[in-house]
Amino acid sequence: MDVHFTLNGENMSAAADSSTRLIDMLREGCGIKSVREGCGVGECGACTVLMNGDPICSCVTPAVQARGCDVTTVEGLETDGELDAIQESFVTNDAIQCGFCTPGMILTAKALLARNPSPSREEIRRSIAGNICRCTGYIPIINAIEAAAARTREENTAPL
C-alpha cells in the first residue's frame, strides 16, 4: 500500500507492506540516509525520528503507522541553509565524533527543548537515555544541549 505522510514539511507517499518498518521506508523509499539502524530492537536510538513531534524508534515502528503523520528527520531541522541551534551547538561543543548517533541524538534534544526550554542536566540525561553514543562519553552532548537551550532562550527573549 502507499503510505501518505508529511516528511520534513513536504507531502510524501511511499510503499509499505506488512513487514516494512518506518526506518526501511525512510531510507529505501524516501532516500533519507540520516536515519541509521544500530541495534534494530529499539534500544540504541540511532534510528530516532520525530513523529508528530515525539521522538520514536523507527526501527520498531510499522511504516503503515506513519500514515497521516508529520515525520521529521534531521534533514528537516535546517532552515534556508541555516543549521538549527541544536545542530550548531553540537558542532561548537565537539559533541560529534563518529557521528552515527548524532541525528537521533539531535532529534531527541529537539523534542526535549520543544517541551522544556530550560532542562536541568539531569532532565537532559534522562531524555537521551534511549540514545547511545559509544564515542563522546555524553558530557559534550549534554553540554551542547544545555548551550542550545540557553541560546534559544536568549533569542526568544531578545528585543526585535
Binding site: M1, A15, A16, D17, S18, S19, T20, R21, G40, V41, G42, E43, G45, T48, M51, D54, P55, I56, C57, C59, V60, T61, P62, V64, Q65, R67, T108, A111, R126, S127, A129, G130, N131
Partner: protein
Amino acid sequence: MIYEDPLVPSTMQELQDMMAAHAGKFLLAAGGTDLFVKRRGGIGRGVILIDLSGIGDLRGISVRASDNCLEIGAMETMTSVSENPLVIRHARCLAEAASKVGSWQIRNRATIGGNTANASPAADTPSALASLGAEVILVSRGSERRIPAEDISKATGSSEIAPNEIISAFRIPLRENSVSAFGKIGLRSEVSIARLNLAVSAQVSDVMASQITNPRVFAGTLGIPARRCAIAEDVLVQNGFGACGEFCRALAELVDEAIPGRSTQAFKRSAIQALGEDVSSALLSRLKGAVM
C-alpha cells in the same frame, strides 16, 4: 513487495471483520515495539499486519462514573498513561510503572494493551494493573468478557486472550482513601528491562495507617507477569506499613515459592526486600494525601 499489504481498520467493527476474514493469518500491531523485536527477520510471507493505531475506540482515559472506575483504552501509550492526571490521581502505581518502561522513544509508541497482550514476565505494567484490581476488557465479534488483570497470563509468554479477541480497555475500580506505589530493579537506572518489580495498593483509614484494608501486593518477573503475595497482604492488614521488616520477609518467601532453585533466586530474594522497603516508604509518604 513480497509481503502482504497491511490492513488499517478505523472502527472495531472493521477490525473484527478483518480478523474473521483472515483468521490464523494476521498479526495485530499496537505500538510495534515488541512485535518488530520478536520478528526481526520480517513479519513472514502470507502474514497480514493489522494496524490498530487508527481505531479511536481503543484510545481514551476517563472516569466512568456509572461503573465507578477509571477506564484506559488499550492503545494508550506509556507516555500518555504516565502523564495523565487521572491515572496519577487514581492509579499512581500504574503511572509509575509506565514511566519506567524503556526509553522515551519506546514509551511514545509502546501501549498498555500491547504490554499485557505480549505477556512478557518482565513487563512493567501487569503487576501495577493487578495490584489496582484492574479488569481487562476483551472483545470479539458480538461479545465482551472481562477478566481480572492477574489472570490474563498464567504462564510465560502466553495469555488468556483468544485468537479472535482483542483487549479494548482496562477498568480500574475507584477506591476511597487508596494509595499505591510501584518499584523496579533493573541492571541500570534507565532503559532497563526489569529484573524484578513490585506494585502495592491498599485502602487506609488514617494518616497513621493504623487500619489497612484490601491490600493487593503483586510482584513481576517471578516467572509470570504478576504474582500475588498473600502473606505480605496479611502482614499489611495486621501491622500496617510500619512493619517493614515483616513485609519484606513475606516478599522473600514469595521468591522462594516462585522460583526455587533458579540461579536468580538468591539475588531476587535480596532485591525484593530492598524493593519492599522502597515501596513501603513511598506508600507512607503518600498516606497524608490519600486520607480526607
